[in-house]
């Protein structure tokens, strides 16, 4: 387990925010040529759930997953390289910002189809349970995803089989740009799965203690074979759906985290708490930001120097294997005469 103390979580949140701000700043240069969805304002969820994750746990994200990738100890250079379209990117330039994949940290392919990752995370959890492996699959979704049928189908299956999967819903009340009130009557999400038997909890992302507590318990239950959990986290998306524009206190929360305009900022909320308790001071924050920004600048410049992926053999890259498979080398029994000249059963549904 990584650093689940609040200082560790704070560092994770700040790093995600600074990376996203940096991407936003450089995005208009047209060198990052793929739809890019920033998680500015929503850094708390990835940082907290990343802090509790073990290396073997699997994260399945959405198209807005830079933060989740970094929180799963993803490689910043691979992330930048991927967004810049280099073959040194984590998906070799084939995926871009929306399809980040890194098996070395068990970050499994983000989907551009809303809700698309939910069955996949659930299937990963089935594989863990099948192998009696205490791994957890964590599936990040937004409030739009719970409008998709596949989510209900998956939840039902996960509950039925007590699968070790966490559904973490970042409710920013927006699907693309459509507010939740235009999409559903009941805007509370966490309890709508309770009739399927799913345990649910709702927290606000500025209530960092509650979220840490909820995340810790959910991981523990899943790891002990007690089944899935749904955690709804109220969050604010400061970024536009796609692209580099954003508003909110991203630029000034660190000047005065007690400023009322910084109230919706989960980082400012945690800083306030830690400063008030004397665990950290604003000089530390300044130093930390400086250090991270330096890392980001250096890493981005390095990634910018990589050659762009320029393959031409697309048709050779579609399939993982050839037309003839390989049978495992093992001696096994055939069915002998069991099925010979026997009519196939026509019971129940004869046709």
């Amino acid at each position: 387990m990584k650093n689940t103390d609040k200082l560790g979580i704070l560092k994770g949140m700040i790093r995600i925010r600074l990376v996203e701000q940096y991407i936003a700043r450089r995005y208009p240069e047209q060198k990052m040529r793929c739809p890019t969805h920033l998680c500015l304002g929503q850094e708390a969820v990835p940082a907290v759930f990343g802090a509790f994750a073990q290396k073997k746990d699997v994260f399945v994200g959405t198209y807005r997953s830079h933060g989740h990738y970094l929180a799963k100890e993803g490689n910043l250079l691979s992330l930048f390289a991927e967004i810049l379209g280099s073959s040194k990117g984590c998906s070799h330039g084939y995926g871009g910002s929306m399809h980040i994949m890194d098996e070395s940290v068990n970050f499994y392919g983000t989907s551009a189809i809303v809700g698309g990752g939910v069955p996949i995370a659930t299937g990963a959890a089935y594989a863990f349970k099948y192998r009696r492996d205490p791994q957890v699959a964590v599936c990040f979704i937004g409030d739009g995803a719970v409008e998709e049928g596949a989510v209900y189908e998956s939840v039902n299956f996960a509950v039925l089989h007590d699968l070790p999967v966490l559904y973490v819903c970042e409710n920013n009340r927006l699907a693309v740009t459509t507010p939740i009130e235009l999409r559903t009557k009941n805007t509370k999400i966490f309890n709508r799965f309770s009739d399927l038997g799913l345990k649910g909890i709702s927290v606000d992302d500025i209530e960092i203690d509650k979220m840490i507590d909820a995340a810790g318990r959910a991981y523990e239950l899943a790891r002990k074979g007690k089944g899935p959990c749904f955690i709804e986290v109220s969050a604010h998306r400061w970024a536009t759906h796609v692209g580099h524009d954003y508003e909110g206190p991203a630029e000034y929360w660190h000047q005065d985290p007690h400023d009322k305009d910084a109230f919706s900022c989960p980082i400012a909320a945690l800083v306030r708490q830690l400063v008030d308790r004397g665990k950290i001071n604003m000089q530390d924050i300044k130093a930390l930001r400086g250090k991270i920004n330096e890392e980001i600048e250096r890493t981005f410049n390095k990634a910018s120097g990589f050659a762009l992926a320029n393959d031409s053999d697309f048709e050779d890259k579609v399939y993982a294997s050839g037309l003839l498979s390989k049978l495992p080398k093992k001696t096994i029994k055939g069915a002998g005469k069991k099925y010979m000249h026997k009519e196939a059963s026509k019971l129940v549904n004869p046709f």
Binding site: Y94, I120, A150, K317, Y319, G334, A335, A344
Partner: protein, 329 residues
């Protein structure tokens, strides 16, 4: 001499499933009706009793999630086989099969594989009607990333199922329900039949018939009757809709100069169009007659027995088409 071992198409599938599960613990099966007395028309006979509920999962009616669960399990080391008793239900699972399974290997830089097998049963015949009996191999063959095959006999049903299960890519198998009771020689040992390999079932010199699925036995029957009329037809079982075995088809048509494609799906944007385009692109000037296609009418299948019988092409219509192609009457 040892007697040939004859199994039904359904039991060839049962045996392949059993052997795959013996060979590799990562093979799991999920479908509806896996433990009922019908054993999915006999194709799962003995499997649940032998392997139990962890490896033979009874599915809730949630096709899309279940397909995605197979993808997620496959990404994490399992080799899931999904069975849909009626091919038509697969439309509910297309997001996961097309948007996810077929693209993951490519889209994620070749770093992950999605070894899933989807068995789809075409319920042709006995009044199954328009939502139980569509032949969808053409549609699936449109998408890169999938292997698509349609075994027409018990031998191929076993070999192609084993090949699919141990393939590292998503594979779609179309099984014709009317073929389930068909018996054929099936070796007991596990063996593989490759994708992309068509089979010449009968040699001929006057024309080539490329047939699919349950039209294959009809084509063989037609070719035998044509012999009496002095027409020598070469019959090719397409076997795989993706990839299509271009070489075998082109070599045959180069020799015969005439091509009939007899397909169980619709003509428009269908596998028959694809094979027809192949012949015109590669053999322009070498064809003695325009390519002919024999497909089901461009309408859903009606349920009523008289209409249903008229709807599906059979050996008689194949013979008629061959007469037109060769000019023989």
């Amino acid at each position: 001499m040892k007697m040939a071992r004859r199994l039904s198409y359904a039991h060839a599938i049962s045996e392949a499933t059993d052997q795959a599960m013996q060979l590799d613990k990562s093979v799991i099966v999920i479908g509806q009706g896996t433990r009922d007395r019908g054993h999915i028309f006999g194709s799962m006979e003995g499997i649940f009793d032998k392997y139990g509920p962890d490896r033979v999962i009874e599915m809730p009616l949630s096709e899309n999630a279940i397909a995605g669960i197979c993808v997620g399990a496959a990404l994490n080391g399992l080799r899931p086989m999904l069975i849909l008793q009626r091919v038509d239900f697969v439309f509910l699972a297309l997001d996961q099969i097309i948007n996810h399974a077929s693209k993951y290997h490519f889209m994620l830089g070749g770093k992950v594989n999605v070894p899933i097998t989807v068995r789809l049963i075409i319920g042709k015949g006995w009044g199954q009607g328009p939502q139980h009996s569509q032949s969808l191999h053409s549609m699936f063959s449109h998408f890169p990333g999938l292997r698509v095959a349609m075994p027409s006999n018990p031998h191929d049903a076993k070999g192609l199922l084993l090949n699919s299960i141990f393939c590292d890519d998503p594979c779609i198998l179309f099984e014709g329900r009317p073929l389930y009771s068909l018996e054929g020689d099936v070796p007991e040992k596990p063996y593989l039949e490759p994708f992309g390999k068509a089979k010449i079932l009968q040699k001929g010199k006057d024309l080539t018939i490329v047939a699919t699925s349950f039209l294959v036995p009809e084509a063989v029957k037609a070719a035998n009757e044509l012999k009496a009329k002095g027409v020598s037809a070469e019959v090719i079982d397409l076997v795989s809709a993706s990839p299509v075995d271009e070489k075998t088809i082109l070599n045959s048509v180069k020799k015969t100069g005439r091509l009939l494609v007899a397909d169980v799906s619709w003509d428009r944007c269908g596998i028959s169009s694809q094979i027809s385009a192949l012949a015109s692109e590669k053999l322009f000037g070498k064809l003695a007659a325009p390519v002919r296609r024999l497909t089901v009418p461009f309408a859903p299948v009606p349920t009523g027995v008289m209409m249903e019988n008229k709807y599906y092409p059979n050996s008689k219509e194949i013979i008629k088409a061959c007469f037109i192609l060769t000019g023989v009457k």
